[in-house]
Symmetry: C2
Subunit: 428 residues, 2 copies
């Protein structure tokens, strides 16, 4: 709390003045405007040592306290960014359920059509990409170890049943990806954006493939290489600290989990050419796993500013139209795992909260608040449907080396019925 620091642009009138005070009227108007921006959410909003507005109807989902009038003015100017800025500065405090509050706000905004439907066409140079990646992922492995699973998998998990733990759900996700790719021993896989290497190592260890895995984060690649050595997988998995644009050679399968969000739409043709080169015209297949949207919309501006500079979650149309169509790749299978990402984030957020004191001690309170807001807001966005999670399996459009059904056992099915589907043998 910071209630004595009324140093905003609007100077409060002396406390002694009686009757209706101009500043108080202004504060009420500002708080109400702010609440209108949040949509029809039952919200209590108050200014410390100032007006206190109960929800318009029903019990409050949360109470938002604004500690400085300057923060209130900033919120009026740019609420989406300044809510986050005020929150990390400690000038905005939320009592109650932060996730439920944000979900209600996102739902109200989606329903009101308060979206900015336009898409982004920014392009990132390899140098920019490296800076953006390092900013987020090189915070330090010790930080992520506090709240990710034991294998440091920083993408949506897959929970086959409600009781699944986060550790098991990340393994289940890796198996889901491998099953969809129908990996067979001896095949070669190229992975773009491999994080701390868990999937590459899993594919090599459990499915007998060789993997070449790329990542721009120095800290993550160093960790992955150590782990490969420790597990005796150095001859089967090559970790390369480089950009997806540097990928060369061919492979039986291409996989990318959680990287497309960092590739600007303007660079999708470049990624398309890379995938096309990797898969050629043959029996190859690939999988893209990415955070997306149901309609074009930039990432939340505060997340862009503080957490993921340069990130853009594409719609399925933007991803398929931008990356697959130009490479004459066709979609074989799409699965939307949105609620699984909400569950993943719920588990990350709970672990993060349990470690919050350690985070504050090492990184400071603003950092801890920023990450708490980011995890809560992301969970809320997946709950509200502002964000979606797509897994897309694809192959060259004319390849008949594709699974016959989802259920068919792996060994039977590449190539459909007897290798290439039905074939006529009539004399017509």
């Amino acid at each position: 709390m910071n209630s004595s620091s009324h140093s905003g642009l609007v100077t409060p009138p002396p406390e002694a003045a009686g009757g209706p005070r101009a500043a108080d009227l202004f504060d009420r108007w500002a708080l109400e405007a702010l609440r209108r921006h949040a949509g029809q959410v039952p919200l209590r909003v108050r200014l410390a040592n100032g007006p206190d507005l109960p929800p318009v109807s029903g019990p409050a989902v949360a109470t938002v306290t604004i500690n400085r009038r300057l923060t209130l003015l900033n919120l009026l100017r740019n609420p989406d960014v300044e809510f986050g800025e005020g929150f990390i500065a400690g000038d905005i405090e939320v009592e109650g359920d932060l996730v439920a509050l944000l979900e209600a706000v996102y739902r109200a905004q989606e329903a009101a059509g308060a979206l900015r439907p336009r898409h982004s066409s920014f392009s990132h140079s390899p140098k920019e990409s490296r800076a953006q990646v390092q900013r987020h992922y090189d915070v330090g492995n010790d930080f992520y170890r506090l709240w990710l699973d034991s294998q440091l998998v920083y993408t949506c998990a897959y929970f086959p049943s409600p009781g699944t733990t986060l550790e098991a759900a990340q393994v289940a996700k890796m198996d889901l990806v491998c099953r969809k790719l129908r990996l067979r021993p001896g095949e070669h896989v190229i992975e773009a954006g491999c994080g701390w290497g868990a999937l590459a190592l899993h594919m090599a260890r459990e499915y007998g493939v060789t993997v070449t895995a790329y990542n721009l984060s120095h800290e993550q690649i160093a960790y992955a290489q150590q782990r490969a050595a420790r597990e005796g997988l150095r001859d089967r998995v090559a970790f390369i600290e480089d950009d997806y644009r540097a990928i060369h050679g061919s492979a039986d399968a291409f996989v990318s989990v959680g990287m497309l969000e960092h590739v600007g739409p303007a660079d999708y043709p470049v990624l398309a050419a890379v995938i096309r080169r990797v898969l050629g015209d043959g029996r190859g297949r690939g999988l893209l796993h990415f955070i997306g949207r149901s309609r074009p919309n930039p990432l939340h501006p505060w997340i862009t500013k503080r957490i993921f500079p340069g990130a853009y979650p594409p719609t399925l149309v933007e991803a398929v139209g931008g990356v697959l169509e130009p490479a004459n790749l066709t979609v074989l299978d799409v699965e939307n795992l949105r609620l699984h990402y909400a569950e993943t984030l719920d588990q990350w957020r709970r672990r993060f909260l349990a470690a919050a004191e350690d985070v504050r001690r090492v990184f400071g309170a603003p950092f801890e608040r920023a990450w708490r807001l980011y995890l809560s807001g992301s969970q809320a966005a997946f709950m509200a449907g502002s964000l979606q999670l797509f897994q897309v399996v694809f192959a060259p459009a004319s390849s008949n080396a594709i699974p016959w059904t989802r259920e068919t056992a792996d060994d039977d099915v590449m190539g459909g019925f007897g290798g290439g589907g039905p074939r006529s043998d009539d004399q017509l």
Copy 2:
């Protein structure tokens, strides 16, 4: 054979003339040009009573005989349309495997990029739609009974295993659609484009739902209504002879199997508005099943001319971007059943061939040849990947009444984990 009718634009020189004949040189040039258009396909081409060109290399996949020089000239002018025209007139004959020949041609053309990548934006008035539908579907139920399955399902079947019969595969397809929609007893389903009513009746009989089903074909609706009466399902299934634009009321599920191909892209916003109105913002979900492309390309011009006037197979991008995004619907699941359509067409074509004599007797030889070419060419197009088959499941973007996983039993899952996915309950 029609070898005495040399009545083309180019008058053949008298047979008596010796030495290299100008007409013969021209014929060779024309046959070679024609073969080049077909791509690198080992093909024997000959003009009746004229040149006979063996394949450039390897054994011939088929021999194409052109019986009239006029047909050869027409082929030079517009090969895609005039091959079909010559075939149905009996002026072009194919010895060997027609499906394999067409598949090889489509593959060669796809590989050579001999495509016309542009998309179509034509719009159909309800009257035009009715005329187009009646032309194809009102040929008569007796005709379709000759070669479709016993329930007259005229869309891609689903073959769980290689031994599945066509009859069983059509039932399996209907069950696949119903499982993907997670139908529950008492729900209401709206179907757009219901053919002879098999799916509507199956949903009502096997899943306990009520159905309102629309179709423009008078013959099909009459048949469906009789069948509903015979099966005692008239109080559960309403068949309505009308356009998708006339759909009104709301439903728990929207389904359309094999209709989107007949809706011009220019009318996708109209269909989007219809689906949005049917599903609202609630727990509804829908499924679109349609023939598509891996990249934008009009339907084969001869098929458009003779078989499906006004039809257009969209890419996944065109369908999702045109029909779902504007309605704020999100993709939950996509499955590509391309090889199942190749198998379905193989079975239809074999039944058709077995009944060819009956077809010729009733409808005439050109009609029989046209349908033989259409069924063969369609099978070839699915084999070559020129055509794809997409099943797309969707729901309002913010609905949490969606299946938790593909595997979860129906009753558990609408609403994810305990109705609406994970939910935070912390005081932050």
